[in-house]
C-alpha cells in the first residue's frame, strides 16, 4: 500500500462560518481532491481474487450447453460458476425489488443481450477475462420481443416461461384517478388536445460502474461486502433472505461511491456471484463491471410510451388530464419502487395544476431487454409524469394561441389551497407556484425574450422559448403505505456528543456525492450550536449505522434530515435538564440561544453545550432519572412526502442548415423550502440540468430488431461534455414544508425531472414555422432535421 504522506487535515474553509445552515464548503473535498477517496475498486485485501462475467451475445435464446472445461484448466483460474451450479444451491434466481425474480446466472435460456451466463474467478482481472473467452456456450436462437407495442400480440414469443402458467408478456396493469369522472369532463370540454409522448430508454451511467468485494470468513461464518450500494441496510436484509446467512453475520460497507443516480439501488447478479465466489474459494473476491457491461445490463431508466390528453375551456381553464401508458420493463421486473407503487409515483401526472379530474391506465410488459426502469433521478417515475403533463400544457397553449407561461400562471394550484389533494390522491404539502414562475420570468427577462423571438423569426432564424413548471414528490415515505419488500421506508439517526463537545452523527442514508457529510453536520449544528466542523458524519456501514432505507428518490433530507434534526432536539432536551442542575434553576427557566442555555433574564448565567457534554460524562450528580452521556437515537416515519417545485425557462437556437440545437440560456428557479446549504443545492441543480440536457438532446439506449443494444458504450451513448453544456442560471423561492421539522424538502432530482420538457418545448417552439407540434427525445440533429422535413419517427 502507498504511504499516506498527505493527510487531509486543513481546516474546512467556511466562508460565512455558519454554526448551522448556510453556504459551507464540503468536508468531503479534502480527500477527493488528493485522490484519497476510497471507492470499491480501491479496496485490496490479502489473497483477493477477481471475478468476471460471461454475458449473452443474444437477446433471446435457449441454452443448449455450456462447456467450461477449458476455462477451468486455465492455470490462474480458481473457479468457474454456471447457472446450473447455482441452481444446486437454490441461488440461480433472486428476488427483485418488485417481487419478481431475476436470473443470477441463466439456467434455461437468456432473455436479454448482456445477461449473465457464467462467471470466472481468477488470480487477477486479466486472467479472469482471458478465461471468459474459453467458455463455450451453445445457444438455440429464439425470436426476440423488442418493440413493446407488439409484446402482447397473440403470436409474440413468451419471454417469461419460467413463471408458472405464463402464456404472454404481460407484466402488470395499474390505474389511478377516476375514469368515469374524467370521461365526463372530456366529453363536454371545449377543447381536447392529444399527443403521443415517448420517453425513451436512457441510462444513469454513473462515472463509477457497479462492483463489490465479497469477503466470506468461513470460521466465523461472517460475510463482509464492500459494494456500490445506495441502500446498504436494505441490501443486507435481502442478502440474508437470498443467501440464507443470518443478518447479524452480514456487514455491508458502502464506501465512497462515484455517483449513483439510481443505478446503485438494485441488487445485481454480479454481487451475488462475488458472494458465492468468496464462499466457494474461501478468498475475498472482487467484481468490477466495465462501462459497456454497466450500460447493457444494469438498471435503465424511463421507457414509457404515453398517449396523453388534456381538456380545457376555450378561454384557457385546464379541466382534466388523461393518459394511457405502455411501460417497457425488460425481461425481469426489477423496478426499484415501493411495493404498492408498481408505477412509482407516476400518479402525480396532474402536475402543478388545479384540475377537476384525471385518470391514468397503464400496462407494463416484458421485452427482451435489461431490467430496470426506475433510475436516473426519476423520483419513482416523476420524470415521466412531469414530461407528459408539461408537454400537454404547452401543446394546449399552442392550440389556444396563448402564451405557455401565462396559461400556467392561470391554472396553478393557489397557495391558499395547500395542503392540496389531487384527483389521483396525492396531498401536496405547500407551494407558491406563481411566485416561482414569476421569479424565473424575471431572471430570464421573459417578455423581452418573446419580443426578440418575434424579431428573429421575421429574419428566418429559429429561436425557441420553452417553459416547464413542475411539482415533485420526494421523501418516501409514510410506512403505512410505503415499503421496499416489506421494509418500511423510515430512516434512523444516532447522535453522540463526546465529553469535549465534539459529536458524531450516524445516518442510515448513503451519499453518492450529494454532500451528506457536510449538510448533516450543518443540520445537527443548527440544532445544537456545535460547529459543523466538530461533527463527524458516519454513513454506509451497516455495523455502525442505524437501520434505514438509503438514498434515492431525493429522500435523504425529507426523511433522514428530519431524523437528524429531531435526534439533535432530543439531545438538547436532555441537555436542558442537565443545564438546569448546573445552574440550579428549573428547566423552564432556561432559554436556548444557539449553543448554550442561559437563565431567563440573566444572560450572565449560562452554560454551553460543550460544558453540558462534559458534565454529562463527568463527575458529580446528575438530576434524578437522567443517565450519563449525551446521546440519542431516533427512527423517523414521515407523515407525508415533501413536494418541492420549480419553474424552468429554456432558450434555444436551432441551426436552419444543420438542425443542430444549441441551448443558449436556461433559467432554473427551484423551491425546496428551507435551504440547508445553498452552494450544494446549486451544484445538485447544475448536475440535474445537465442530465436533462443529455436526455433531451443526445442520450438513448436503443435496440435493433434482433435485440442488439445500440448505445452500449460511451462511443454511442452520448453524455454531455463541458462543450455542449451551457452556463446555467439558477434562482430560488422558499416555501417551507409545514410537516418537516426544519421545513426542508428534497431537491436532488428536481432539475432532472423539470429540465427535459423545458428543452423539448423550446425546440418545438423554435420549429413553429415548420408546423412541428410534437417531437420525441433525443433531439439529435438528424431527428430535428427529419421533423423539419415533416417526417420524424418515434425513437423506439
Amino acid at each position: 500500500m502507498t504511504t499516506v504522506h498527505e493527510r487531509p487535515t486543513e481546516h474546512v474553509d467556511n466562508d460565512q462560518h455558519p454554526v448551522g445552515h448556510g453556504r459551507m464548503l464540503r468536508k468531503e473535498d479534502p480527500r477527493f481532491i488528493r485522490g484519497r477517496g476510497r471507492y470499491t475498486d480501491d479496496v485490496q485485501l490479502p489473497g483477493m481474487l477477481h471475478l468476471a462475467i460471461l454475458r449473452s451475445p443474444l437477446a433471446h435464446a435457449r441454452i443448449v450447453s455450456i462447456d467450461t472445461s477449458a476455462a477451468e484448466a486455465h492455470p490462474r483460474v480458481k473457479a468457474v460458476i454456471t447457472g446450473a451450479a447455482l441452481a444446486g444451491q437454490g441461488l440461480a434466481w433472486m428476488p427483485t425489488l418488485s417481487n419478481d425474480v431475476q436470473a443470477v446466472l441463466a439456467t434455461d435460456k437468456v432473455r436479454f443481450q448482456g445477461q449473465e451466463v457464467a462467471c470466472v474467478i481468477a488470480e487477477d482481472r486479466y486472467a479472469a477475462r482471458d478465461a471468459l473467452e474459453l467458455i463455450d456456450v451453445e445457444y438455440e436462437m429464439l425470436p426476440p420481443v423488442i418493440d413493446a407495442r407488439h409484446a402482447l400480440d397473440p403470436d409474440a414469443p413468451v419471454i417469461r416461461d419460467d413463471l408458472d402458467g405464463k402464456t404472454d408478456n404481460h407484466c402488470f396493469d395499474w390505474e389511478a384517478g377516476d375514469a368515469a369522472a374524467t370521461e365526463a369532463v372530456f366529453s363536454t370540454a371545449d377543447v381536447v388536445v392529444s399527443e403521443d409522448v415517448v420517453y425513451p430508454r436512457v441510462h444513469p451511467a454513473p462515472m463509477e460502474t457497479c462492483g463489490c468485494v465479497a469477503d466470506f470468513d468461513p470460521v466465523e461464518g461472517r460475510l463482509t461486502l464492500w459494494s456500490t450500494t445506495q441502500a446498504p441496510h436494505a441490501h443486507r436484509t435481502l442478502y440474508a433472505i437470498v443467501a440464507g446467512l443470518p443478518e447479524h453475520k452480514i456487514r455491508v460497507i458502502s464506501p465512497d461511491i462515484g455517483g449513483g443516480f439510481g443505478n446503485k439501488v438494485p441488487i445485481y447478479p454480479g454481487y451475488v456471484c462475488a458472494i458465492v465466489g468468496s464462499i466457494v474459494t474461501g478468498k475475498p473476491v472482487k467484481w468490477m463491471e466495465d462501462r459497456s457491461e454497466n450500460l447493457i445490463s444494469t438498471g435503465f431508466a424511463r421507457d414509457y410510451i404515453m398517449r396523453g390528453e388534456i381538456a380545457a375551456t376555450r378561454d384557457g381553464k385546464i379541466l382534466a388530464v388523461r393518459t394511457n401508458v405502455l411501460a417497457d420493463h425488460g425481461a425481469f421486473n426489477g423496478t426499484a419502487a415501493p411495493v404498492k407503487f408498481p408505477a412509482g409515483f407516476f400518479g402525480v401526472f396532474t402536475g402543478s395544476y388545479d384540475l377537476q379530474a384525471a385518470y391514468c391506465k397503464m400496462t407494463a410488459v416484458y421485452t427482451n431487454k435489461a431490467p430496470g426502469g426506475v433510475a436516473y433521478a426519476c423520483s419513482f417515475r416523476i420524470t415521466e409524469a412531469v414530461y407528459l403533463v408539461e408537454r400537454l400544457v404547452s401543446r394546449l397553449a399552442d392550440e389556444l394561441g396563448q402564451d405557455p407561461a401565462q396559461l400556467r400562471l392561470d391554472n396553478f394550484i393557489r397557495p391558499d389551497q395547500f395542503p392540496y389533494s389531487t384527483p389521483t390522491g396525492w396531498v401536496y404539502d405547500s407551494g407558491d407556484y406563481r411566485a416561482t414562475l414569476r421569479e424565473a420570468m424575471r431572471i430570464a427577462g421573459y417578455d423581452e425574450l418573446r419580443a426578440e423571438q418575434a424579431r428573429r423569426r421575421e429574419r428566418g432564424e429559429l429561436m425557441g422559448i420553452g417553459v416547464s413548471t413542475f411539482t415533485e414528490a420526494v421523501g418516501a415515505g409514510p410506512r403505512k403505505h410505503m415499503d421496499i419488500l416489506g421494509l418500511g421506508m423510515a430512516d434512523g439517526c444516532d447522535l453522540r456528543v463526546h465529553p469535549t463537545g465534539k459529536a458524531v452523527v450516524r445516518l442510515s442514508v448513503q451519499s453518492q456525492g450529494q454532500g451528506h457529510e457536510t449538510t448533516f453536520a450543518q443540520i445537527v449544528g443548527e440544532e445544537l450550536g456545535i460547529p459543523p466542523d466538530d461533527i463527524d458524519v458516519v454513513h454506509g456501514d451497516t455495523d455502525n449505522t442505524p437501520f434505514g432505507l438509503g438514498t434515492y428518490g431525493s429522500r435523504s433530507t425529507p426523511v433522514s434530515g428530519a431524523a437528524a434534526a429531531l435526534v439533535a432536539r432530543k439531545v438538547r432536551d436532555k441537555a436542558r435538564i442537565i443545564a438546569s442542575a448546573m445552574l440550579e434553576v428549573a428547566p423552564d427557566d432556561l432559554e436556548w440561544t444557539k449553543g448554550s442555555f442561559q437563565v431567563a433574564g440573566d444572560p450572565g448565567k449560562a452554560v454551553t453545550i460543550q460544558e453540558i457534554a462534559m458534565r454529562a460524562h463527568g463527575a458529580g450528580d446528575l438530576p434524578d432519572g437522567i443517565e450519563g452521556s449525551l446521546d440519542a437515537q431516533i427512527t423517523y416515519n414521515p407523515p407525508n412526502l415533501t413536494y418541492p417545485n420549480g419553474a424552468y425557462i429554456c432558450v434555444v437556437d436551432v441551426d436552419p442548415g444543420t438542425a443542430q440545437v444549441k441551448v443558449r440560456r436556461f433559467v432554473a428557479v427551484d423551491d425546496c423550502g428551507t435551504r440547508i446549504n445553498p452552494m450544494i443545492i446549486e451544484g445538485q441543480v447544475h448536475g440535474g440540468l445537465t442530465d436533462g440536457l443529455g436526455m433531451a438532446l443526445m442520450e438513448i439506449i436503443a435496440f435493433d430488431s434482433d435485440g442488439n443494444c445500440l448505445g452500449g458504450s460511451l462511443m454511442d451513448y452520448l453524455i454531455p461534455t463541458a462543450l455542449e453544456t451551457p452556463d446555467w442560471e439558477t434562482g430560488y423561492t422558499v416555501t417551507p414544508s409545514p410537516h418537516h421539522p426544519i421545513g426542508a424538502k428534497g431537491v436532488g432530482e428536481s432539475a432532472t425531472v423539470g429540465s427535459p420538457p423545458a428543452i423539448v418545448n423550446a425546440v418545438i417552439d423554435a420549429l413553429t414555422p415548420f408546423g412541428v407540434t410534437a417531437l420525441d427525445m433525443p433531439l439529435t440533429p438528424s431527428r430535428v432535421w427529419e421533423a423539419m422535413q415533416g417526417h420524424a419517427t418515434p425513437p423506439i
Binding site: T2, R34, D42, D256, Q684, T721, A722, L723
Partner: protein, 157 residues
C-alpha cells in the same frame, strides 16, 4: 513479463509487467496509486488522466511498457506540501461532488493551464472536453479552473 523503470509521483521504481498491462492498472494495482480511477472502456471519459512527462494522457489507453523511462504524475503527486491551486479552487468553488472524475479533471486542467495561461471560458470547456463529469454540470469546474489560472499567473508574474 517486461522490466520497466518508471518514476511515479517522484518515486523511481523498477517493475515487472505484462506487456499488455494498461498504465492505469499498473499505477493502481502495482504502485498503489488508487487515486486515479477508471470510468469507461472506450477512452472517452478521461477519469484516468495523468501526466506523462508533463502531458495529460488517458492512462487507460497507454500500456505500462510505453511509460518505460517516463515521469508519471498522478493526482496523489500533485500537492507539493501545499495544495496545487487547482485543488484549492475545486474545493472553494464546489467543483466536485462524488469526486470520481476529479483526479482526471484536475490533471487535464494542469496540462491545459500549462498551455494556456489565461483561458477563456470557451477555451476551458474545449480543453476539458475529454473529461466527463456526471455530477457538476461543469459550470463550477470552469469557474475553478479559471480561478486557479489567475492564481497561477499571479504566482509567476
Amino acid at each position: 513479463m517486461t522490466r520497466i523503470s518508471v518514476s511515479v509521483d517522484g518515486t523511481e521504481a523498477v517493475d515487472e509487467v505484462e506487456p499488455r498491462t494498461l498504465l492505469v492498472q499498473y499505477l493502481r494495482e502495482q504502485r498503489g496509486r488508487t487515486g486515479t480511477p477508471v470510468g469507461c472502456d472506450t477512452s472517452n471519459c478521461g477519469a484516468c488522466t495523468v501526466l506523462v512527462d508533463g502531458r495529460a494522457v488517458k492512462s487507460c489507453a497507454l500500456l505500462a511498457v510505453q511509460a518505460d523511462g517516463a515521469e508519471v504524475t498522478t493526482i496523489q503527486g500533485l500537492a507539493n506540501g501545499e495544495l496545487h491551486p487547482l485543488q484549492k479552487a475545486f474545493h472553494e468553488h464546489h467543483a466536485l461532488q462524488c469526486g470520481y472524475c476529479t483526479p482526471g479533471m484536475i490533471m487535464a486542467a494542469v496540462d491545459l493551464l500549462d498551455e494556456v495561461a489565461d483561458p477563456s471560458e470557451q477555451q476551458v470547456r474545449e480543453g476539458l472536453e475529454g473529461n466527463l463529469c456526471r455530477c457538476t454540470g461543469y459550470q463550477n469546474i470552469v469557474t475553478a479552473v479559471r480561478d486557479a489560472a489567475a492564481e497561477l499567473r499571479g504566482a509567476t508574474s
